[in-house]
Symmetry: C2
Subunit: 359 residues, 2 copies
Amino acid sequence: MTKEMKKELENLGQKVLQDIEKKENPSIEIPIRALSNVIFDKKAGQLTLGDKTAKRYYFNVAHAKKFMQTLMVASFSKQLIDQKIHASIRDMYYNLKRTLPNSDENTFDEQSESDPIIVDLEVAIDVLREQLHLTTDRKGIVAGNVKIQDRGDIIDWSKLGSGGWSIPSTVDEVDFKKVDAEFVLVVEKNAGFERLHEDKFWQKHNCILIGTGGQPSRGTRLLIQRLNDEHKLPVYVFCDSDSYGFYIYSVIKSGSISLAHVSDRISTPSARYLGLTVSDIYEYDLKKAAIKAKDVDIKRAKELLNYEWFKKNPRWQKEINLLIEKGIKAEIEALSHRGLKFMSEEYLPEKIKKKDFLD
Amino acid sequence: MTKEMKKELENLGQKVLQDIEKKENPSIEIPIRALSNVIFDKKAGQLTLGDKTAKRYYFNVAHAKKFMQTLMVASFSKQLIDQKIHASIRDMYYNLKRTLPNSDENTFDEQSESDPIIVDLEVAIDVLREQLHLTTDRKGIVAGNVKIQDRGDIIDWSKLGSGGWSIPSTVDEVDFKKVDAEFVLVVEKNAGFERLHEDKFWQKHNCILIGTGGQPSRGTRLLIQRLNDEHKLPVYVFCDSDSYGFYIYSVIKSGSISLAHVSDRISTPSARYLGLTVSDIYEYDLKKAAIKAKDVDIKRAKELLNYEWFKKNPRWQKEINLLIEKGIKAEIEALSHRGLKFMSEEYLPEKIKKKDFLD
C-alpha cells in the first residue's frame, strides 16, 4: 500500500518534469470538488465526485502559488512515507511555512491555505490523506472479541478493562488477526458505549462495540468500513433520535458532501439504522424523557427529508415527518428512564432479534 | 473504598431519619461552594474550600425541592454502588425525572437541576462523584511501561500499538501491577501525543506519556495524581505557550475554582511546567511559527498574572509578561517548524536533561 502511494506521488512529480522537458506549461489535473460536481451514486449507495476536472498551471498568475503549494505538500508526504513517520496537518503547516528568499512572500500564511491543498492531492491521485501519512485528530473507542496487530503489538480488544482501545487517526495498517463477532454496533454517544461496555453487551451478544463520540472520525469510519468489507459483518448504527443522529448515520452509510471524494474508502453503504427512532419514544414509553425539538432541529429535519437515501424509504420519511409534526426528539440516554439496564437488556436485544432496522 | 462510600451515604440517610425521630426539622449540611468560600491553601499548594457551610431544610419552602432532590441523588448513588454499575450524570437525570403523584411538579425539569446536586453531595460527604459511580465523559490516552488490572483484565500500556489506552471516566479501581518509569509527561495536544508515541519517546526516555486532548478530564487528572502520589513519579506538563496552555497546567497542579472541593483528590501540586514558554519562541528560533496573540489571550494572561501560584515565581511573571508585551503565542506543533522529530529528539530531551522547568 505504502509503495503504491509513493508511486502515485512520484508519478505526479514525473508528469510535471515531463511537461518541463517538453517545454510545455507544467500542470496538475485535479477533479473539481464543488457541490456542482458531487453526485449520489445510486448503485453504490454513496456520494461521489463527478468527472469534471480542472488544471492547475505553473505559468498562470492565478495558479502559480497553489501550484507550488501542491508540489510542496506532495513532496512533504513523500518524505513522510520514506521516513515511515506520520504528521498532523497542523504539523505540516508549521513545517512548510517559510518566507521565500528575497521576498516578503510566505509559502503558506495560514493553515486554512494548506488544508485544502491536502484534499486537492487526495483527489488528484485518488488516495486517502491517511495513506499520505497525514493524520487527523483521533476519536472513538472499540471493544470486542478481536485481536489485531498494530505497530508490531498484538492487541486484544476483549482485554482492555473499562478503557477500550482508542482508535488512532488511521487504521490503514492495522492487521486483523482474529475477528470473532456477528455484527458491529456503532453507538453515537460515549455514555452509551460506557453503559454497554460495563454491561458486557459485546460479550453477551458477540459483537464489536464502537463508540464514536459524536460524528465519527475518519479513522473510526475506516475501521467500520474495514470490518464490514473485509469481515462481512453487518453494521448497526445507534444514535439519538434527532436530526443530528440521523445525519451521523447518513455520513457513516453514504458519506458527506465535503468528503465525497473518499466515500468509497470510508463509508459503509450496507449500514443499517437500529434506533432511536421517533416512534420509539411512543413505543417504549419514553415521552417523559423526550425533549422539545428546537427550530434548528426542525429546519435540519426538513433538509434530511430531501436526501436521496432518506427519500427512497417510506419508513424514514415517516420518522422524519414525525419529528417535524410532533416537534420532539430524544437522546439514547433517555432509555435510562426505563431503568439503567433497559438499553442493554431489553431495547437493543429486542431490536436486533426482530431485525427492526431502517435502511 | 466502595464500602466507605456506601457508609457515607447511609450516614446521610440516618442523620435525616434521626432528625425525624427527634421531631426536628430534617436537614443536610453542605459546605458553601461560592467563590467567597474558595481559598488557596499555600501549604498544600491547592485551591480548597473554606469552612463556611449552609443547611438545607425539609420544612422550608425555599429548600424543600432541593432537599428532596439531594436525597433522590443520594439514594440513586447507593443503588449504583449496591448493583456495582455506573451511570453518566445524564443517565441519572433521565432516570430520576418523573412527575410527582397528584401534581404537575417534576422531580427534575432539566439536567441543569440535577448536576449541581451531585456536586452538593460530593461536598457534603466529601467524596468524588466517580466514587458515587457517576461517570463523566472520558478523554485522554496513555502509553508507557505500565501494567494495570482493570475489571479483571491485565492491560499492558506498552503493547497497544498506535492506539494507546483510552482513559476511562474513573481510574479509581485501576490496580497498578507494574510501573516502570522515571517520570510522567503530560501533553496537552493529541497531535503531540501521536508524534511522541510514534517516535517511541516513552520507550527511549522511560516515561509514561499521557495525552489530555485539551483540558484534562477528571479521570485523566486522577490518573496523573495517582501516578505521582502512589509511585512517586515527577510530573512534567507540556502545553501550548498561551494563556490556555498555562491554565491547563494550573488546573493540573492546583485545581480549579469550580472543582475546589476535590482538589486534594485530583490535583498534583508537585507538577512542573516543561514548556512551551514564550521565551522558547526566541530561544528555539520559532518566530516564524508563532501566532499573534488575540485580545482575549492578553486579557486572560493579565488575569493569570494574579493567580497566587503564578505570582510567587518570577519566571512565571516574566513569561506571562512577555506574552503580553510581545503579543505572541505558539502551539506545541510549532516545533515542527524545526523538523518533525525536533520535539522528540532535541527539544524535550534537552529540557528534561537541563531540568529547565517552571513551577
